[in-house]
Amino acid sequence: MTMLELRDVTRDVLLPDDRVLHILRGVTLGVAAGEHVAVVGRSGTGKSTLLNILGLLDAPTSGEYLLEGTPVTALSNRRRTRRRGQDFGFVFQQFQLLPGRTALENVAAPLLYAQGRQFWRRRDLAAAMLDRVGLGDRLDTMPEKLSGGEQQRVAVARALVRGPRVILADEPTGALDVETGQQIMDLLDDVASETGAALVTITHDLAVAARASRHYRLAEGVLVPVDVGGAGRVADWVGDVPTHLPTGRTHVPELGPSVPAEVQR
C-alpha cells in the first residue's frame, strides 16, 4: 500500500522583491510501507522542502499530497500535527538534539506529546530505544559529551521512539565521517526493516543513496527517477557536478566516472 503519495506537487515562495521562487515543480512520488527511497541533488534544489512537505512540516502550493490515501488538505491543522508526531520520525543533518538535556531526556522528548502508556512510560521506552542503538550506557550523558556518531544515534533513537511508520532522514550522515555514517545508515536500515517503516533519505552522499531500493534526483525542483544500474555517471545522480559540497566532503569526486560496484549493491 502506498503510504505517501505526491501528485504534481509544486511549492512556490514569494521573495521580498515580489518575484516568485519555484522550489518544487510538479513533483510526483509514491512511497510504500517498508520501502527505502533516496533523493539526491545539489544544495538548494528543494530536497529539504520536499522532505518537509512529506513530513507535514510544510504544505504544497499546488498539487495533492495523499497520506495513506487521504488528502492532507482534508486534515485539520491539529490532526496534521498529531499525525506528524505519531507517524513520522525525523533525523536531521545537525542532529538537532535539545540542549541541556541528557540523551535519555532527548529521546523521551517526543513521548511528551504522546498519549496514555507511551506518555507515562516515556523514560523506560527511551532507555530501551537508546539501548537498541547501542547507547544503553550513556543514558545520562549530555549531548555535548557525545561524539558526532553517538549524537546522531541519539537523534535516530529519538526519531524511532514513537514507532513511526515513516522515517524522514535529511542528510543523516552529513556531519559524520564515512565509517560512522555507514554505521548510522546500517542502523536506520535495520530499524526500518524491523518495524516495516518507510525510509526516505535525502542526501548528497551517493554511497548513502545507493542503499535505497529506489532513487530519485531532484534538480531545479524537478524530481526524476534514477536507475542505479544504468547510471554510471555522477552527473546522472546529482545533475550537474556540484562545485561545492557541504561539509567539505569529497565522496562524489572520489566515485569517478562510474559508481563502484560495492556502492551500487
Binding site: 529539504s48 500535527t81 508526531g85 498519549q115 506518555f119
Partner: protein, 403 residues
C-alpha cells in the same frame, strides 16, 4: 490529561535546565511577593502596636465608660451609684467591666509620707487596658479577699521606695490616719522615660475601700469611680443611651455621661498604610513582570530551533503556547513561594519587641497577604507569558529547524 501533565513536565524541565535565566527573571517577582507579604505583616504588627498602645490609653475597642458627678448636696449617695453599676453588669450580662477611680493616697516612702497617684480598679482592667506587668503579677480575683491591700506599682514608685526589684517581698505603708501595710505584687514600667516620672500605683477598688478612707485626705479627683465596660461594637449604639438613662434614674441629683473610644482607634493608619503597601507591592510586581517578559522574549528567540524541533515531534501550536505560558506561570509560582518563604523567615525573626515596644498579641502571619501575593505573581506570570508564547506560536517550523 496527558496533554496538561506533559505541558507542566515540559515547563518544569525548561525551568530546571535554565535555572540561571529563571533565577534572574524571577528575583524581581520573588522580591515583590516577599515585599507584599512581609510589609503587610509588618504593617499588621505596627497596627497592632498602635492598637495595643491605644488599648493601654483608652481601653480596648469598644470600651464604654460611664461617669457620674453629683450636682449638689441633695444628690444620692455614691453607694447607690455603685449598686446601680452592679445591676447594669447583671442586666446586660457584661463580663468585662472595671471600676476605675483615680485618686491620691499617702504612702510612707523612705523620705516621708507622700501622696502618690493611685488607680483603684478591678482585676479585669488588666486585660481591658493591656496592663503590662514586667515583674511580679497583675491582680487576680482572689486578691480582693487578701488580708492586706496589694499594689501593682510603676518603676518610679519602686525607685522611690529604694527597692531594685521584687526578688524580696516589698511592703509599703498605705494611708496616714489608719495606716495599713500593703504588699507590692507587681511592677509596670513608667509610661515614658525621664527622671521626674511620678510614682503611681494600682490597687483593687474594693481593697482600697476597705482599708483606706478617702475622706481622711483632702478631696482629689473624681467623687465616684468611672465604670468601664468592654463590649461588642454592635451593641454600643444601643447600650449607651440606655445606660445613661438607667443610671441617671437610679442616682437622682447626679449628672451621668457615657462615652466610648471608637474614634480613638487606628483605622486611619490601617487604611492609608494598606493602600501604600498595596501600591508599592503592585509596582514591584509590575517591574518584576516586565523583567520576566523581557527575559522570556529573549529566551524564546534563543529557543526558536528547539520550538521547531518540538513541532516536528507533533507539538501543536496550542501545546507550544501553553508550554511557554506555563513556563512563565510555573516560574512565577515558584518565585511567589520563595517570596513567601522569605517573608515568613523575616517576619518570624523580626524583633517585634524592639521595634514595636512589646506586642502582647503578636498578629498571626498574614496568610491572606501571602495568598494574594501568590495569586498576583501567578497572574503576572500568565500575563508575562502571553507575549513570548504568542511569538513562539508564530515561529515557522521550517525556519525554526534551520535557525
Amino acid at each position: 490529561m496527558t496533554g496538561f501533565v506533559g505541558a507542566v513536565v515540559e515547563a518544569w524541565d525548561e525551568l530546571r535546565i535554565h535555572k540561571l535565566r529563571v533565577l534572574l527573571a524571577l528575583i524581581g517577582v520573588a522580591a515583590a511577593v516577599a515585599a507584599i507579604t512581609g510589609v503587610t505583616a509588618a504593617v499588621q504588627m505596627l497596627s497592632q502596636a498602635f492598637q495595643e498602645q491605644g488599648d493601654r490609653d483608652v481601653g480596648r475597642q469598644v470600651t464604654v465608660s460611664v461617669d457620674a458627678w453629683p450636682r449638689g448636696e441633695q444628690s444620692a449617695a455614691p453607694a447607690a451609684l455603685q449598686a446601680e453599676y452592679a445591676r447594669v453588669l447583671e442586666r446586660y450580662d457584661i463580663t468585662w467591666a472595671s471600676r476605675d477611680w483615680r485618686t491620691q493616697v499617702p504612702f510612707r516612702f523612705p523620705d516621708g509620707t507622700r501622696p502618690a497617684d493611685v488607680r483603684a480598679v478591678d482585676p479585669e482592667l488588666g486585660t481591658m487596658q493591656r496592663v503590662q506587668v514586667t515583674e511580679g503579677r497583675w491582680f487576680v480575683d482572689a486578691d480582693v479577699e487578701a488580708l492586706a491591700p496589694q499594689l501593682v506599682v510603676n518603676r518610679a514608685f519602686l525607685d522611690r521606695l529604694g527597692v531594685a526589684d521584687l526578688s524580696e517581698p516589698v511592703t509599703v505603708q498605705l494611708g496616714d490616719v489608719a495606716p495599713v501595710r500593703s504588699t507590692v505584687v507587681g511592677v509596670v514600667e513608667n509610661r515614658w522615660s525621664g527622671p521626674d516620672y511620678p510614682a503611681e500605683a494600682y490597687v483593687l477598688y474594693d481593697q482600697l475601700a476597705r482599708w483606706y478612707t478617702p475622706d481622711s485626705t483632702p478631696m482629689y479627683g473624681q467623687p465616684a469611680p468611672t465604670l468601664s465596660l468592654w463590649v461588642p461594637p454592635e451593641i454600643v449604639d444601643e447600650l449607651m443611651p440606655r445606660l445613661q438613662t438607667e443610671v441617671a434614674a437610679a442616682v437622682p441629683g447626679w449628672d451621668v455621661s457615657t462615652w466610648d473610644n471608637r474614634n480613638t482607634g487606628t483605622a486611619m493608619l490601617d487604611g492609608a498604610t494598606r493602600w501604600i503597601v498595596l501600591g508599592v507591592g503592585a509596582f514591584a510586581l509590575l517591574l518584576g513582570g516586565l523583567g520576566l517578559v523581557n527575559i522570556a522574549l529573549v529566551t524564546v528567540r534563543y529557543r526558536i530551533r528547539e520550538i521547531g524541533i518540538r513541532r516536528s515531534f507533533g507539538a501543536t501550536s496550542g501545546r507550544i503556547f501553553v508550554g511557554v505560558l506555563l513556563e512563565s506561570v510555573v516560574a512565577t509560582v515558584v518565585a511567589g513561594m520563595v517570596g513567601v518563604v522569605i517573608a515568613v523567615a523575616v517576619v518570624k525573626n523580626i524583633p517585634a519587641d524592639a521595634l514595636f515596644g512589646g506586642l502582647q498579641d503578636r498578629p498571626p502571619f498574614p496568610v491572606s497577604a501571602a495568598l494574594v501575593g501568590m495569586a498576583c505573581a501567578t497572574a503576572v506570570g500568565a500575563l508575562a507569558g502571553i507575549l513570548p508564547a504568542t511569538v513562539a506560536v508564530r515561529v515557522k517550523v521550517i525556519d525554526a529547524i534551520r535557525y
